[in-house]
């Protein structure tokens, strides 16, 4: 049996319990009192009887004694007046005995009474005998009977029995007295206890009931407070909250609901809602069907989510879209008792969505018209965008591409080793733009390969987190062809130009050398001029080839760590005899300590040769000094001459293409006008610069160029740049 807690019992029950308990106590007390009173009565009557019995037996004895005395008197005197008690005695004896029997309920006592009766009867019989004897025979006969003592014996026996009887009665009396006392005490006790108990019970009941009432009141207060709070919460919500009962009548309309709808709680049935609140389907014209309202659907257990309703009524300035979700309200047994709906104003969101669609359509239109293939990937490398050009280039349709990892359908691989090219996409997905490596090819759906180029860029979100990558690519078959043609053109052109020129030069040289026999003196000069012109032509072609290569980025640089001294020294060796020819001094001042530079030795050689060549050309007297000074990150090499110098107007023209300094050209072998331009481009490609430090007419000029020192940060940058450029144009010459 479950133990009941006091608190779990209802208030009514507790009140009843209290009253019943009190009642029970009273009844108990009453019953006990009544029972005790009966007992008391019995005890009292018993005592009375016993006392009466004592009296009666005493009376009897006295009577008997009286009779005996009477008898004695008669015997002695013969007077019949003494016989009066004896006459009455028989009757009185019976009466007394009857009385005694009534008064002695106890069996032992009754036996005694019976014995006493018998003895008394015998005594009377004896007395009668004695009396009769006196009457008839006289005194002496009667005296003789008395003297037998039989009468006395009877009296003694009677006395003995009576004593015992009296003793019994005394005992009984004492018992009854004690009993009475006990009973009385008992009754008092019970009554007192009863009073106490009922007081306790009633007091407890009062206390418990009061406590319950207080608790109840407190609970009620709390409930009221909670309700108030809930109401506050409901009304502070920004979402509209409405509750309807089973009939579809509104029972709750929070503040937001009223604000959003413009109209408050109306006690109308659902089929009137559309009209009264101005609810339409998203098409803005069809009134919203009553059975489709989420609130109505929920009543049937159909809990709808995000149902869109257009609202426009007199109270609202402009129409708005709301998104409604409905839930059923159920009781403890799961039966639907009503429904609740929550809704939001989504007009802004819908506007944004419409705008977004428009933007998206625009973007898609733009993408569709771009000639390059464009596709975008999400962070899982799945294709989320694939424009028309991409479809055409790859042969895969948008449906085939969308949603799939790009590696499923697009195979970018290197022409060189056939290995997949995916670095540029992976780099983009890490957050940096990257170009496809040169010689990237793509396999179309039908298996045909096409050369492709371009790049991948990351798509960044609002917090600059990578959300994907966009790849742009195009078929570069034509471009590659063009490049090849360009290269071929340049090579072929230069080769073709050089061939006849070389031949002319060779012939003229040989004629002048006398290999075709002695030369007519008159012909020496013109032949020499021809040779000069030829040499110029050759130089021009070489220079133009170099310029073309540099401008196309197709000049190959092989930069390594080199000792600068060795490179410069080699040039000095070649130029010294030429300087000697013109009787000019040529000095070389190497750096204080041997220094390593990052350079293409051939190119440095070429540049210094060009500068020294110029110096020699324009210096008639004095000398040329080449000095190399190591600075922090680079080495500065200067070429100082004591030649003609260059005016300040002419200095800006120095490094331009085909610019010849107008003055002071007579008698000097003309240059191509490309030398300094080419030299500067070469030096710049290797990370340095070439410039004129100063020059003054008739004083001389000082040219300087820099070469980066090996193992410096600058050197690293140069190497990286050159490597990058080499990867884009691998066919460098």
């Amino acid at each position: 049996m479950k133990t009941l807690k006091l608190s779990e019992l209802s208030l009514a029950f507790k009140i009843n319990l209290g009253l019943v308990a009190g009642l029970m106590i009273l009844i108990a007390v009453g019953v006990v009192s009544v029972v005790n009173r009966d007992a008391l009565d019995r005890a009292t009557s018993g005592r009375e009887h016993a006392m009466k019995a004592k009296l009666a037996s005493a009376q009897l004895l006295s009577d008997l004694i009286n009779v005996e005395t009477g008898q004695r008197g008669y015997v002695l005197t013969g007077q019949t007046s003494y016989l009066q008690p004896y006459d009455q005695a028989a009757v009185r004896l019976d009466a007394a005995i009857s009385n005694l029997l009534i008064l002695t309920p106890d069996a032992t006592d009754r036996q005694l009474v019976s014995d006493i009766n018998n003895l008394a009867k015998e005594k009377l019989a004896e007395l009668h005998q004695t009396i009769t004897l006196r009457q008839t025979k006289g005194f002496a006969a009667a005296q003789a009977v008395v003297l037998t003592g039989q009468g006395k014996t009877y009296m003694d026996q009677i006395r003995a029995k009576m004593t015992t009887l009296n003793a019994n009665e005394d005992r009984a009396i004492v018992n009854y007295a004690t009993q009475s006392g006990q009973l009385q005490r008992q009754t008092t006790l019970v009554v007192e206890a009863g009073i106490l108990l009922s007081v306790l019970v009633v007091a407890s009941a009062i206390w418990i009931i009061n406590r319950d009432l207080t608790a109840r009141k407190r609970a009620e207060d709390e409930l009221a407070e909670q309700e108030a709070r809930l109401k506050a919460v409901i009304n502070s919500m920004t979402e509209g909250l409405v509750v309807a009962d089973l009939h579809g009548t509104f029972t709750l309309f929070n503040a937001a609901a009223e604000e959003i709808l413009g109209v408050g709680l109306l006690k109308i049935s659902p089929d009137k809602w559309a009209k009264s609140y101005g609810n339409y389907l998203p098409d803005k014209t069809t009134p919203f069907p009553a059975e489709q309202f989420p609130l109505v659907r929920a009543l049937k257990g159909d809990e709808a989510r995000d149902v869109e309703i257009y609202v426009k009524n007199k109270q609202l300035k402009t129409g708005k879209f709301i998104s409604v979700s409905g839930n059923a309200l159920r009781d403890a047994n799961g039966h639907i008792t009503g429904s609740i709906a929550v809704f939001n104003d989504i007009t802004q969101r819908k506007d944004a969505e419409t705008k977004l669609f428009a933007e998206k359509a625009k973007a898609e239109a733009m993408l569709g018209s771009i000639g390059d293939g464009v596709f975008a990937l999400d962070t899982e490398e799945r294709i989320v965008l694939f424009n028309r050009a991409a479809e055409q280039l790859t042969g895969f349709t948008l449906q085939e591409a969308l949603g799939r990892p790009y590696t499923d359908i697009l195979e970018f691989y290197s022409e060189k080793d056939g290995r997949p090219v995916d670095e540029f996409i992976k780099t983009a997905l890490k957050g940096w733009t990257a170009a496809m490596t040169q010689d990237t090819w793509l396999r179309r759906k039908d298996g045909t390969p096409i050369p492709v180029a371009d790049s991948a860029a990351p798509i960044l979100g609002v917090d600059d987190e990578v959300q994907g990558a966009v790849v742009v690519f195009r078929n570069v078959v034509r471009e590659k062809e063009l490049e090849r043609l360009k290269d071929d053109f340049v090579s072929i052109a230069s080769h073709e130009l050089r061939t006849p020129m070389g031949a002319i030069r060779a012939f003229v040289s040989m004629i002048l050398d006398g290999d075709y026999g002695p030369v007519n003196k008159n012909l020496v000069e013109p032949l020499t001029d021809i040779r000069g012109s030829t040499l110029r032509l050759v130089e021009l072609v070489n220079d133009m080839l170099n310029v073309a290569r540099i401008e196309a980025g197709r000049m190959k640089f092989e930069v390594t760590d080199q000792p600068l001294d060795a490179i410069l020294h080699e040039v000095m060796v070649v130029m010294t005899p030429l300087a000697k020819e013109k009787k000019l001094e040529l000095n070389y001042l190497p750096p204080k300590t041997s220094v390593m530079v990052l350079a293409d030795p051939g190119k440095v050689n070429q540049v210094l040769t060009n500068l020294l060549g110029n110096a020699l050309k324009f210096t008639d007297t004095g000398g040329i000094t080449v000095k190399a000074v190591a600075k922090h990150d680079f080495v500065e090499i200067t070429v100082v001459d004591t030649g003609l110098g260059i005016s300040s107007e002419d200095q800006p023209k120095l490094f331009g293409k085909f610019q010849q300094i107008s003055s002071n050209q007579t008698g000097r072998p003309a240059g191509t006008g490309l030398g300094l331009y080419i030299s500067r481009e070469i030096i710049r490609k290797m990370g340095g610069d070439l410039w004129i430090k100063h020059s003054a007419l008739d004083k001389g000029s000082e040219f300087a160029f820099t070469v980066v020192r090996a193992k410096t940060a600058a050197a690293k940058q140069v190497q990286e740049r050159l490597a990058r450029e080499a990867s884009i144009h691998p066919d460098q010459k």
Partner: protein
């Protein structure tokens, strides 16, 4: 000393032939690679001078063939060309040529001196 000149351009052929004859060499010429190999086998020159850009068989192939023939591989080959790419130079030297000179940039005399040098070394 015998020198074989493989050159498709007639002026060059003529001028170099003249130059080497004046310098005292016995000269044979061929105007393309195929004829050049034939001549090499029959003439057994001490040195071969070859152009690169030739029809039918270019200088590279000539080099390969010469170096691939056990009878001819020891003959030094000097490449004369008007191409001047670093890659070509490397390629030629890798294939076993002893040197490469740009015709338009080089005096005929210099070529003769170079050949003298190369043959003296032997």
């Amino acid at each position: 000393m015998k020198v074989l000149i493989i050159e498709d351009d007639t002026p060059y052929r003529k001028v170099y032939t003249r130059k080497f004859e004046v310098a005292g060499y016995t000269v044979e010429t061929a105007e393309d690679g195929v004829k050049g190999i034939e001549k090499a086998r029959s003439f057994k020159p001490d040195i071969v001078l070859t152009d690169l850009m030739m029809p039918q068989m270019d200088g590279f192939q000539v080099l390969d063939t010469l170096k691939g023939d056990s009878n001819l591989k020891d003959i030094p080959v000097l490449v004369l060309t008007n191409l001047s790419t670093a890659e070509d130079s490397q390629k030629v030297l890798q294939k076993g040529a002893v040197d490469i000179l740009v015709k338009s940039d080089t005096e005929p005399q210099v070529i003769v001196e170079r050949v003298n040098e190369l043959l003296d070394q032997k």
